[in-house]
């Protein structure tokens, strides 16, 4: 739930990047962190294992500056993707205003992606969100890999709601900002 503080003239929104392990959620945040104007971003926080797998979440606060007198801030989070962290994902989703579902386009990851989006919808219902109306965008990541499934096929099985979707190669920055723009605008429309 977005927080609008009239006294301090601030608006805060929470965006969560969701998806299977190694699909590129953290990579999206890392790309934004290293490429965006430093005055826009705060410190990036990562709670990861020794092997750099996300254990709890990554966190990147962005400050869009003052818009019509309101300092507008977006807080970007990732969830840990590995199956065993299901409860942790639910904990991080708490209070989210919008979600980016990152898909690993590789054929061998197809089934995992299908399970993960079903889990996301279930988790949103558990949190009392109306899934048909909740800001959600899909990112087809790893489009550069040889075993990438055609987007039309991914779209048919993973995007039955016809949500906005974007092709990406997050490691190279491709599609990262298009996705971020879409979810940010989606959230602002719903405020």
């Amino acid at each position: 739930m977005a927080l609008i503080n009239i006294a301090t003239h601030e608006i805060h929104c929470k965006i969560v990047y969701y998806g299977i392990g190694f699909c590129g959620k953290t990579t999206n945040l890392q790309y934004v962190f290293k490429s965006i104007n430093p005055s826009v971003r705060g410190e990036m926080l990562s709670i990861a294992t020794e092997t750099e797998r996300t254990l709890f979440f990554d966190f990147l606060p962005l400050d869009l500056g003052t818009i019509h007198g309101f300092r507008t801030r977006l807080h970007l989070y990732t969830v840990p993707g590995q199956i065993l962290y299901e409860r942790t994902r639910l904990a991080v989703l708490n209070g989210a205003d919008g979600i980016v579902f990152v898909v690993d386009s590789q054929a061998e990851k197809f089934e995992e992606n299908v399970q993960s989006i079903a889990e996301l919808e279930m988790n949103l219902r558990r949190l009392g969100k109306d899934v048909t109306n909740f800001p959600l965008v899909i990112q087809w990541n790893k489009r550069d890999l040889p075993s990438a499934v055609p987007v039309a096929v991914l779209d048919r099985y993973l995007n039955r709601r016809c949500l906005p979707s974007y092709e990406a190669v997050a490691s190279a920055g491709k599609g990262v900002y298009a996705t971020l723009r879409a979810i940010s605008k989606g959230i602002m429309m719903q405020l």
Binding site: A2, A7, I11, L62, I67, N94, K174, R181, M188
Partner: protein, 164 residues
């Protein structure tokens, strides 16, 4: 009732929150007191020790709290409504304000945990009333902030800042 997608805190309500937090801080001699939304956003922070890292602290404390509630569920416990983190110098006591906010008290060895528990419960009850007013008032306040001009400017800003 329409599901709220945001909470709008007015000047008056923030004044009242600040007053309540300040009083709790003085009465317990805590080093800092914070009020967070369950999403990790900071509503108000009083005292020096949390000011500098308030944003990161908000995200981490809310994450830890949310995680502990799931632990409760797995243990068949109805709920963990508080967390106590004990350090060598600083301690943190976190408690829920309904299902929406978290009241966080940071204190050192000069303050007894019993005092923090009792007074934070009282403060939490006062904040429940504030939360109810904020919820009731949010829809009225919405149009004054989130008007067409704001929405159009925010879209322009997003296009400007988030470009390849």
């Amino acid at each position: 009732m329409e599901q709220l997608t945001n909470l709008i805190i007015s000047d008056d309500e923030l004044d009242s929150i600040t007053h309540v937090l300040q009083k709790l801080m003085n009465d317990t001699s805590a080093t800092s007191v914070m009020l967070l939304d369950k999403s990790g956003q900071v509503i108000s922070t009083q005292g020096m020790s949390t000011k500098r890292n308030a944003t990161s602290l908000g995200a981490l404390l809310a994450g830890a709290f949310s995680s502990s509630r799931h632990i409760a569920e797995l243990l068949g416990e109805k709920d963990f409504r508080t967390i106590f983190q004990q350090g060598v110098h600083e301690n943190i006591y976190t408690t829920m304000v309904e299902e929406q906010w978290l009241l966080v008290i940071v204190f050192d060895k000069l303050t007894h945990i019993g005092l923090v528990k009792v007074l934070s419960k009282k403060t939490s009850e006062e904040l429940v009333n504030t939360l109810e007013r904020v919820r009731a008032d949010t829809n009225h306040q919405k149009s004054s902030v989130l008007n067409i001009q704001f929405r159009s400017s925010v879209e322009d800003t997003i296009d400007l800042l988030f470009r390849d």
